[in-house]
């Protein structure tokens, strides 16, 4: 391999230009969105006026983080096939959202998934419990994203970590605070198009060197690093570990508050369905692209050069862009990665702020009675507070190993949010007490078990052996959560809730409310 010197980490004129264009366009959108963001429905859900296709792109934009673009391409470039196994885990939760969650969510809720859980149960206890699950998911995910973005931006542009964090925080607060869901959605859509477009161009440029045939690329990788890069390696060594992580990813995807919230931005269940189909297709396409990008980097950049810049391989995609398309293309891809970071944290912050204002403030402290303008004001204060908190956490966790927090966020989403949501939709006898038991058990188990697992107990706290053997707690915490929900509902039933199940069921399946008079 020729000696290759990269310009990564130096200010890059093209990337600054592309970035200024992106920021200008999105701020312009935020300005127009602000005029159409006056009511709570507009702030939380863009008034339900997003089309199924647009929402599909925005969902993909919400889900395809910089960590999955740069991280998975890096993983593939260093480990080969194992990176694909990882991607598959992140995709397979999407069909389950479609089959189990999307339509009931759209038909039964208004702004948050807690609306569905609390549909026929007692408002206050459910809202408090569901908010804890939601906020913990959002916060852990947000910390991982902020810390990751600070390091990535430092690596890409040479900007100091603290400056990067404060800048990301400030722009993200601007989008959400002024433009609400409408601006956030369009930021996601633009980012998704840029990311998919940029990755596609990168793949075409790589494949053009291999006769447009990926097999030739893989063969070159095999010739350079041996057939082991085309075969599964050490990622799945313990089947229980793999099962547990797989469950966290599958059911966690169906419990992520910022993803679930997007189903309220479309007009009806039909559009909700279409958006999952579109999102799954784009995310699947994206993971196939990252697989080829990873192999491209392995062959064209070389593993030594990749690990020379960053041990984790996070710069593989950018190095590949530079090798294939020069400094200008590097600048473009780096700007896309930056845009990706902004879009994901904006979606998370909006979801967290909605939980704080709609679930906690309005439905718990004000007993469901708050004036429209008051709720919007509280939602904006919550956005600001959460944005500042995200920056503070990003600074506080500087240099810490926070990779486990993504796994933890998925584990909490899978154990606290998903079981309560599924049981409240499908089980007539699910009671308030059962729901609270389920959420509390799921959250507690997920957090407690990950602390004593190898992930934290050994890797971070440096103890010799872990108390709990699995790296991800989902296998136990999901089962525990369902069991607690079942036992809790049997111990303390809820007659009012049972009586309202029929009405909920009609609305769930037919999308109509039978509280209003029917026919003549």
């Amino acid at each position: 391999m020729d000696q290759f010197t990269t310009t990564i980490g130096q200010p890059n004129l093209t990337s600054i230009l592309f970035f200024i264009v992106f920021i200008s366009v999105t701020i312009g959108i935020t300005y127009f969105a602000a005029k159409r963001t006056k009511t709570t429905a507009e702030f939380y859900t863009a008034g339900g006026g997003i089309s199924g296709f647009q929402n599909g792109l925005a969902l993909a934009g919400d889900y395809m983080s910089a960590a999955s673009f740069l991280g998975i391409a890096g993983l593939v470039s260093l480990k080969g096939y194992d990176g694909l196994i990882y991607s598959i885990g992140f995709l397979v939760g999407w069909p389950l959202i479609m089959f189990l969650i999307a339509e009931p969510l759209r038909n039964l809720g208004k702004y948050t998934f807690a609306d569905v859980v609390a549909y026929r149960l007692s408002q206050k206890p459910i809202r408090i419990a569901a908010s804890v699950g939601s906020l913990m998911t959002v916060c852990f995910y947000l910390i991982a994203q902020m810390v990751g973005s600070g390091s990535l931006i430092k690596m890409m542009f040479g900007l100091p970590y603290e400056v990067a964090i404060v800048f990301v925080g400030a722009v993200m607060i601007g989008y959400v605070l002024f433009g609400g869901m409408l601006a956030t959605t369009w930021v996601q859509i633009i980012k998704a198009v840029l990311l998919l477009g940029g990755a596609t161009v990168l793949v075409i440029m790589v494949l053009s060197k291999f006769g447009m045939n990926p097999v030739n690329l893989f063969a070159a990788a095999q010739a350079k690093y041996g057939a082991k890069v085309l075969a599964p390696g050490g990622l799945v060594s313990n089947p229980w570990d793999a099962m547990s992580l797989g469950l966290a990813l599958m059911f966690g995807t169906a419990g992520l508050p910022h993803i679930l919230m997007r189903f309220y931005t479309v007009p009806d269940a039909k559009a909700a369905r279409k958006s999952v189909f579109v999102a799954t297709g784009f995310i699947a396409f994206f993971y196939i692209l990252t697989f080829i990008i990873g192999f491209g980097a392995m062959v064209l950049v070389g593993q030594d050069v990749i690990t020379g810049i960053d041990k984790g391989g996070n710069m593989a995609a950018l190095l590949l862009a530079e090798v294939t398309g020069g400094t200008m293309f590097l600048g473009f891809i780096a700007a896309v990665a930056f845009a990706t970071i902004l879009a994901v944290v904006a979606g998370l912050t909006l979801a967290g702020a909605t939980t704080l204002s709609h679930d906690l403030y309005v439905n718990v402290f004000r007993g469901g009675r708050a004036a429209e303008q008051e709720e919007v004001r509280v939602a904006k204060i919550a956005t600001l507070g959460l944005g500042v908190l995200a920056v503070a956490l990003g600074l506080a966790f500087k240099g810490q190993n926070v990779a486990f927090m993504v796994g933890l966020a998925f584990a909490i989403a899978a154990s606290a949010n998903f079981p309560a949501l599924l049981l409240s939709i499908t089980w007539r006898r699910f009671s308030t007490f059962g729901a609270v038991c389920s959420i509390v058990t799921g959250t507690t188990l997920a957090v407690a078990l990950i602390i004593i697992s190898p992930t934290v107990w050994v890797d971070i706290l440096k103890n010799p052996t872990a108390i709990f053997p699995l790296k991800n707690p989902a296998l136990i915490s999901i089962a525990g959560s369902f069991l607690a929900g079942y036992i809790g509902s049997l111990i303390k039933g809820d007659e009012t809730a049972e009586a309202r199940y029929a009405e909920q069921k009609v609305r769930n399946y037919l999308g109509i409310s039978v509280e209003k008079p029917l026919g003549e």
Partner: protein
């Protein structure tokens, strides 16, 4: 004609709708779970099966991995096709019967 929720959910048309949706969702979910966890089990216990080379540059694992990715997307497509046709028609029939056509 007024009908309450209890009457609606006790009606044969509604029951058939619920049963069919339950069946379709369950079958598709089981296919997805089966494919994914089957893949994980093969990785855990029969890694060699996936490591074998079909030709230079292509191990058995690569097309299988891609097939699972495409399967996930195809299953959502099947669901949308079914729901847009069979399911929505049945829903509209029931709504019409309730005087709530849309």
């Amino acid at each position: 004609m007024k009908r309450d929720a209890q009457t609606i959910i006790a009606s044969p048309e509604f029951k058939a709708l619920v049963a069919r949706k339950g069946l379709v969702s369950a079958v598709l979910t089981v296919v997805m779970l089966g494919a994914y966890f089957g893949f994980i089990l093969v990785l855990a216990f029969g890694k060699e099966l996936l490591s074998n080379l079909i030709t230079d540059g292509l191990s058995v694992g690569i097309p299988i991995g891609l097939a699972i990715i495409l399967l996930a997307w195809a299953l959502t497509g099947i669901y949308v096709y079914w729901a847009n046709n069979a399911y929505d028609n049945a829903v509209n029939e029931i709504r019409k019967g309730l005087g709530r056509s849309e």
